[in-house]
């Protein structure tokens, strides 16, 4: 999970290579047919990667008869949303989406808040043992969830928080904040000391410095961090699988993950379910990229 988003930051933050030498560079690259072959091959490979998405999309809107008659590869001869509506009602997908939004949104806010406070003490407060704290957090991110899950499950039951969205929010927020603290601590360690000094001379206390000086400056980074946390939590499977059993509390991810194996009778309904899982993810992907670019641009202007 961490994986996805780090990749994107790197991708967006790094400036593209400037077009080297313009016309000179263009003439350097021979304009033979080879380049078209490479383009065709790579395009084909990219299309192959997208193929499962297309399969879900074209089969989700077919009638079962159409599917049986023309097979999964054919473009739809019919247009029918009943597979989607059936899935939506049976799974009560509105409720699952709302749960996912509530949980992911809360984790984004809470996780970022914890990260900021931690990073403020480490990066600007320069507390002693800050290196050990960071090392501990690094270790925490490598621990497999399985090594924590049973005690968490047991503790949640003991305090009557099992099967509540709150417990998922708390656990996810703390776990995300390990990464967030790491990222923000390095940002705040490089925070311009003159600005802090000026604020202190003006009589600002620690809290005021954080609230009115530090947070406004790192706002773009915080937006990026919140986006990460939102999407990680949205995609998370293991923790909500263990913690949320009641239908009313489940997230979209878990609801979709438990569908596999059911529904085999109607070939189009699983395609519909797939499509409904794909759409929010693709939407985030598009919004997400813009947020990150904006974050990077804002950081560059400062």
């Amino acid at each position: 999970m961490t994986i996805t988003t780090e990749a994107d930051v790197t991708a967006t933050v790094t400036r593209p290579r400037p077009a080297a030498g313009g016309a000179a560079a263009a003439s350097r690259h021979r304009r033979g047919p080879a380049r078209w072959i490479v383009l065709a091959l790579l395009t084909l490979a990219a299309l192959a990667t997208l193929f499962p998405f297309a399969m879900a999309a074209i089969n989700a809107i077919k009638t079962v008869d159409d599917y049986t008659a023309h097979g999964p590869l054919a473009l739809p001869h019919s247009f029918d949303l009943s597979a989607i509506t059936t899935f939506w009602q049976e799974v009560d997908y509105t409720n699952k989406l709302l749960n996912s939004i509530l949980i992911s949104g809360s984790v984004a806010v809470l996780g970022t808040a914890i990260s900021v406070l931690n990073a403020y003490a480490i990066g600007i407060g320069r507390i002693r043992a800050r290196r050990s704290v960071l090392l501990l957090l690094l270790l925490a991110t490598t621990i497999p969830q399985e090594a924590l899950i049973y005690p968490l499950y047991y503790m949640a039951k003991a305090v009557d928080l099992y099967d509540t969205r709150l417990v998922v929010i708390i656990i996810s927020a703390v776990m995300s904040s390990a990464f967030g603290t790491y990222l923000l601590a390095s940002v705040l360690t490089a925070f311009p000391p003159e600005i802090l000094e000026a604020a202190r001379i003006d009589g600002a206390g620690r809290w005021q410095v954080l609230r009115h000086v530090v947070i406004p400056v790192i706002r773009p980074t915080l937006a990026v961090l919140m986006t990460f946390f939102f999407i990680w939590t949205w995609n998370d499977f293991f923790l909500p699988l263990v913690m949320l059993v009641a239908n009313d509390n489940q997230t979209a991810s878990v609801a979709l993950g438990s569908l596999q194996g059911q529904y085999t009778s109607s070939p189009t309904s699983l395609a519909a379910a797939s499509l409904m899982g794909i759409l929010p993810a693709v939407a985030f992907f598009l919004i997400f990229q813009r947020t990150l670019t904006r974050g990077a641009v804002a950081g560059a202007v400062k």
């Binding site: 994986i3 997208l50 590869l73 968490l152 047991y154 708390i170 360690t189």
Partner: protein, 310 residues
Amino acid sequence: MTVFTAAGTRARSGPPLSRAARKGYLRYLAPGALGFVIVVLVPFVMNIAISFTDWSGIGAPSFAGLDNYRRLVGDEMFWSAFANSIWFIVAMAIVPTALGLVLAAGLFDYLEPRFGQRVSSALRAGFYLPQVLPVAVAGIVWGWILTPYGALNTVLQKLGVTDPPNWLGDTAWAMPSVMLVLIWIQLGYGLVIFMAGMARIDPQFHEAAELDGASWLTRFRHITIPQMQPEIFVVLLTTTIAALKVFGPVFVLTKGGPGNATNVPSYYSYSNFFGTLQVGYGAAIATALTVVVIALTAAFIKIQSRAEGA
């Protein structure tokens, strides 16, 4: 990536804070520290303690000493789960890294100068898209394609294959099928990091080599790969760890089956916790997995810092 570079905290200029001033910042650590203790530290210690007991999750656990670990050593299921992890490392770390490097170089060094950044970015987005899917969704998309009467077999039958395999339900085919899905998911991660890294390489290297008549392949081998060492390292490390911890795809696609064909340690410990209610044994498996993951991380970082020192 940030994770491993951010640790080298830069020295800040300006007057150092006094001891008293530093102390005042400690309270900002309180919420995070409290959360860390409750959500990570206590459960971690508890899990290790549980691994020395015989417990079904109900009633009091009874102390069992090293019994669970003795059982672990002789448990064929456990070892085959770890052996399967190697296949997951191949599918999640090795193949995506190798393929990702070639594709990234093809997109960045070959297509981009000839067709522009728009083309390479669009293709990159195509390869990257599976990465943004929740693992559960990737699971049902592929589950639907690979079930016995699913999309793939319907097509195969139309093509005249009379008895296509049960891709996820056949002992021989389950692992290759799951590996294919994982490669599909993981490819975009390495690709995106490598393309970003390639932007870092000074274009003069490539220009000089091209003037000397070096082919694309030669430049790939002698410029791109050596220059990309840090990125290759990070991608291999993070994906290897992810492969050792893999749970979601196994749960959604095969539940470790058929038989034990795609079982992995994380799924094995999960099924001991919540399936067979052998909580002590599950905790021992999880602890063993943790030791392997941490040892591997330490080894990776040591190798890397030695390589940097050389």
